[in-house]
């Protein structure tokens, strides 16, 4: 009996995998090849930015959805990645010169932190490694002492504020509030804001999103992923089973930070500027709500949620700028109270069946497990056991 179901499940899994792969390929073709040729450049740029935000949402989902760590400080890593790439682009100037803004503050020598960013490979490495290490370090200092839950959230938020102040205050190193522009810089002798370069960045964004999605899939599907869920659900148990949760949490937080770094870099080149305001408290909390709307603990939900919320925001803040905050606040409340599992969670547990019954289709075949999973049966069982 168990063997038989095991084989069935394996087959089903394989089939699902193929379907998933098919969907991904189709989406990639649509996003990367068809879309750029049919919508205007500045809208494409907008979508590119949303997609880069979806990447950071994947990172948040990894630590919040799977590992149960709510970071309110991902803006730090996002900004670090963005700054890394922006510094490289700002250095694409004739030999011996330093970026313009340094003149404002009377800086004559390129600060040492800028030196490595002359080289593109080092920059690309740095925009992954630097946020990763920063996240790892913050994570290590916090997790080592078993600080978790809301304490962790608050500390990440405070760290965010500290980085924000630091970047704002360091005009002589990274131009303070004004931030770094990338639009008028050149890359491979092409202007960054030109349509061709932007389209390339857009395609790179789509590809990165897919690659990072696959990475997250791989991370969350195996034993490692199950352990993350175990840490989320009962960390003490994990510890008494002989695992050291600190190492896992540090690693996954670092990975999440690195993902945010990549997202930040892609976002920056498609925005044209990076400033410390990217590290404002509100933005980092918004990242969490994207994941919550889509459905935490489901990777596709993170992407979906980001796109929906950002599109909604663009539309609503264009139409009703004065009351956009009402909407946003309501969104937080609704998602948390009514849709705790997000759209994807709701869909898998209610929506799909509802749709089928609306269409007059037979409800999908009830096997033993799904019978047990049925909330009503569960309720009944509970009531019976209470009697």
């Amino acid at each position: 009996m168990s063997n038989k179901t095991g084989v069935q499940i394996k087959k089903k899994k394989q089939r699902n995998k193929i379907i998933e792969l098919g969907i991904i390929t189709t989406l990639v073709i649509i996003m990367a090849i068809i879309l750029p040729s049919i919508i205007p450049a500045f809208r494409l740029r907008l979508i590119g930015r949303f997609l880069s935000l979806a990447i950071v949402a994947l990172g948040i989902d990894l630590i919040w959805g799977y590992t149960g760590l709510l970071s309110l400080g991902h803006g730090i890593f996002f900004a670090l990645g963005g700054y890394a790439l922006a510094m490289h682009l700002n250095l694409q100037i004739p030999e011996g010169q330093i970026p313009d803004f340094f003149n404002l503050y009377g800086v004559k020598e390129l600060p040492w932190v800028w030196q490595p960013f002359y080289s593109l490979p080092i920059t690309i490495l740095a925009l992954v490694i630097v946020p990763g290490i920063a996240a790892g370090l913050i994570g290590y200092l916090v997790f080592r002492n078993r600080i978790k839950g809301v304490y962790f959230s608050i500390l990440t938020q405070a760290a965010l504020l500290v980085f924000y102040n630091f970047f704002n205050g360091q005009q002589k190193i990274i131009n303070g509030t004004n931030g770094l522009k990338t639009d008028s810089s050149r890359i491979f002798d092409l202007v960054v804001s030109s349509a061709g370069v932007q389209r390339t960045f857009y395609i790179i964004t789509v590809i990165s999103l897919v690659l990072i999605y696959l990475l997250c899939r791989w991370l969350t599907s195996g034993r490692f992923g199950r352990l993350l869920i175990a840490i989320r659900d009962d960390e003490t148990r994990v510890r008494f089973s002989g695992y050291d949760p600190t190492g896992y949490k540090v690693l996954v937080f670092a990975i999440s930070g690195a993902i945010a770094g990549i997202a930040g870099a892609l976002y920056t080149v498609q925005t044209g500027i990076i400033t410390p305001s990217i590290m404002e408290v509100a933005f980092s909390i918004e990242m969490v709500i994207w994941v919550a709307v889509g459905g935490r603990g489901t990777l596709i939900g993170a992407i979906l949620g980001t796109m929906l919320v950002r599109l909604g925001q663009t539309f609503l803040s264009e139409s009703f700028p004065e009351i956009w905050l009402f909407f946003q606040g309501a969104l937080f409340l609704i998602v948390v109270t009514v849709l705790p599992d997000g759209i994807v969670g709701w869909w898998t547990s209610y929506g799909w069946d509802k749709l089928r019954s609306l269409l007059g289709l037979k409800p999908s075949l009830i096997t033993y497990p799904s019978l047990v999973e049925d909330p009503d049966v569960q309720q009944e069982r509970k009531e019976m056991s209470e009697q």
Partner: protein
Amino acid sequence: MSTLIEGLFNGFSIGSVLLIAALGLAIVFGLMGVINLAHGELMMLGAYATFVVQNIFKPLGEPWFSLYIIVAIPIAFIVSAIVGLILERGAIRFLYGRPLETLLATWGISLILRQFVRSVNWLLFISIGVFSLLFFGGMELIKRRSDWERIKNKVTALLLVLSGGIAIAFYSILSNNLALTKAWFSTRNVDVTAPAWLRGGTDAFGFQIPYVRLFIIVLTILCLIGVYWFLQRSTWGLKIRAVTQNRTMSSCLGIPTAKVDALTFALGSGLAGIAGCAVSLLGSVGPNTGQNYIIDTFMVVVVGGVGNLLGTILAAMGIGVLNYLIGSGTLALMFTNIKAPQAVLDFFFFFATSSMAKVMVFALIITFLQIKPAGLFPQKGRTAEL
């Protein structure tokens, strides 16, 4: 000597602002385990209440105007407490035991409250009133029917749509009336002016002590005494502590836990209101007022340890004094006086600006948490599962 006293006094002034702002938060977090990101906005409401009271007293002239602040404190407490009560009943009680979700929900609330003070006008106010009257009144009426349980969902939905529709219609019909749609506060900051007796200061110990600072220190001490008395000596305080210790047991003993939750949250919110009244004497009053305090106050709670007033007090004072010593450059000067090596001096002068002092204080907090992860006074015993 005078420098030392001045330094300590200034540190304590900063600390007392942190403390009065963190007090309500510490109570709500310590007793209920709820992280309230809207705490700053409750402070902001207290500050706006102070503004309104001030404007009511203005036409009365002296000597009444001098006393407005005394009236404003209880009013601010009441306003914030009522709003806190509504929030607890309306949203937060559904989220007990889910701290991270509470955190997100209260952030949503804070966004709404910030926009509310920007947009609020008589019409919006009345429309909300109409809606509440229709909806909750209707609910009360229908609840009496015997088949209530069966029709609950449908009726709720219907009532919601109906009363919402009527309220919106009401709003749109009257929305051309300029007198009604004039925003109460608008998006601009409002001015709260301390009464004359709180402006200026007195010379003592060779430096000037601002009256406002003294006032806030005294107010903080009064609040502490009040909270201590309430929690330790009053019946409701006993009930609150009982529920904190063991909710199920308390409930079995006939303590109305829901009421206790609401009361605790209202108390914390009310204290935020008083804090808002206090900070309105020092800084700006506007929709974003609360945001300026929220992270600092959380740091106080984290360093102090959960559910321990003494820890909160020490943490607030400690952070206050550190902030002052580093930010004002006093520490850097001290090291100059004792002829510390140049590298050490450079280090301390680098952090001797207001911006960098924050960076330094945060680094110190993180270091502190390496030694005492659960704060100054951690809860002990086997119930203290981290």
